[in-house]
Amino acid sequence: MNLKEKIVEAIRDEKLKSNLWRAVNHSLESRKKVIERNYKNWEELRTKAKEIRKFSCENLEKLWEEAREKIERRGGKIFFAKSKEDALKIAEEVLKEYRYSPIIKSKSMVSEEIELRSYLEKKGFEIYETDLGELIVQLEGKLPSHITAPAIHLSKEEISEIVKSKLGLEVSNKEEEITLCIRNFLREKFLNAKASITGANFIVSENGSLVLFENEGNIRYCLNVSEKVLVITGYEKIIPKIEELKIFTKLLPVSATGQYQNSYTSFYPIDKKFNLIVLIDFRKKILNSNLKEVLYCIKCGCCLNSCPVFSIIGGHSYFSVYPGPIGIMLSIFSNPKYSKKILNFCSLCLACTENCPVKIEIHKIILKGRSFFANKALNFFGLISKKSIFDFSFNLYNLLPFFLKEIFMKNWTYNREILDFKKKDFFDLWKSKK
């Protein structure tokens, strides 16, 4: 199935549409209420957050050097992986003695970027996702469809079926019972696990510590019950000081899930129990480009919820680990073979930019991406950049017989009336009023 087919399928899926719509609206409404009630200084927080992320991304080498010193002094290990393949090999090496015991894993976008779990599973490792939504999509065999609500594309009946068929457990289709069933299933893994894999929301350079946000409690298990913890994260995920968490502990839960506070935020000095893999890959390359703001992203998923395109087509339509507005360029960077057509998944409404907690100008990034990947060969003699050519084409279209108009515009006319182009467009009217 290609991109277009997938989108059409998504648009026509009433159940997906209603689930997705309910989910994103709920997050946005809660977010709005929490900000109104508690954060009169919300804009100030966003500005500070962007400054911190900008400073961090401009000083990554120095910050990682400081973190490394603190981590190694405690006996922890840190590896900088230049590529996905490097990261995968290091992960296998770090976990090799645990090949035949169950490994518990909590959410990590980078681990999905490099397809860590399937690589390790092919090598004989037994890995359990412990975030409820991630476990469900692991069992389903698909990618998560949203950064913070991975199973949002599934109804509770579908989830119940997946649990029944893949885990062989009897369960109703009530949310509480499904959750209880998975709680009991994973509890046994938690209490017997010897190794875990986690991601990182932030690494703090000042004392070489790891910060992780959650609601379920599975991350706390992953951090505490094992003898060895593999942490995998991106090169851009570091901030200088503990003090700066004062900003992010406020911005992140509100932006990610519309909560004032999430249930558990863990602050862990990285010591001898931990092995940290830091993936560099494309991140160094874009540091000096005009697209470097992409690296400021804290993966809250707020732009996904804000996006009118995402909330109709859903995460799977992007065929990427990183969906939504920020995902458009992230997907292309992390996988250069990726279809550039996703640059069109945007109506430039700017809702993402307005809501981004780190004030990334996401719409500008998409525009720059479009400009970069535009098929310049089509613009011979600069013809396509000329308004007069467009005006000419529109006037020509207006003269066509009805049946030809229908054919040309079939994607529009499938559920809309045929329209003619107006003689004067917005620019003409604006000019004439001046």
């Binding site: 949002i152 249930s263 602050f267 000095p269």
Partner: protein, 150 residues
């Protein structure tokens, strides 16, 4: 920092507050835990010993290092598993450790930056299934906070 406001914010965070005088704590706790299986955190010294292993205890009693009353967030030691494994948890907090905001809790973390810490805000929860809120997910379903009043 009035008592009522603190209680309101705690209840919003789904934490049940119980105010208790220091000299009554042991007696009240023993009465509360009568007939129940419980595990007491190694970080507490309250003259009550666990009567069960942590994996099968119903109640986990953990040390609440501080509280940010604005958000109803409890600061605890990250490896204090009495606040994670048993399905009900009881935090023991000294009234003097009630702080205003998250910023105050982060200052505490800053000044002791070699230890693991965790912010606890209510019970464990998830909304991964059709965005319906379910309590608990993997952690405790109930959080009680005993606030020791002098």
């Amino acid at each position: 920092m009035e008592k009522q406001k603190i209680e309101e914010r705690l209840i919003e965070a789904m934490v049940r507050p119980i105010w208790i005088k220091k000299e009554k704590l042991k007696e009240y706790l023993e009465d509360f835990l009568k007939g129940k299986r419980y595990y007491v955190s190694k970080y507490l010294d309250i003259e009550i010993a666990s009567n069960e292993k942590i994996e099968i205890a119903e109640y986990g009693i953990f040390k609440a290092i501080a509280l940010s009353y604005e958000t109803g967030t409890i600061l605890a030691y990250g490896d204090d598993l009495a606040s994670l494994i048993p399905p009900n948890s009881i935090g023991i907090l000294e009234k003097g450790d009630i702080k205003k905001s998250l910023d105050d809790l982060i200052d505490l973390i800053s000044s002791n930056n070699e230890k693991p810490f965790v912010f606890i805000n209510g019970p464990s929860k998830t909304a991964d299934i059709e965005k319906k809120l379910v309590i608990p997910a993997h952690g405790p379903k109930e959080v009680i906070l005993f606030i020791i009043d002098f």
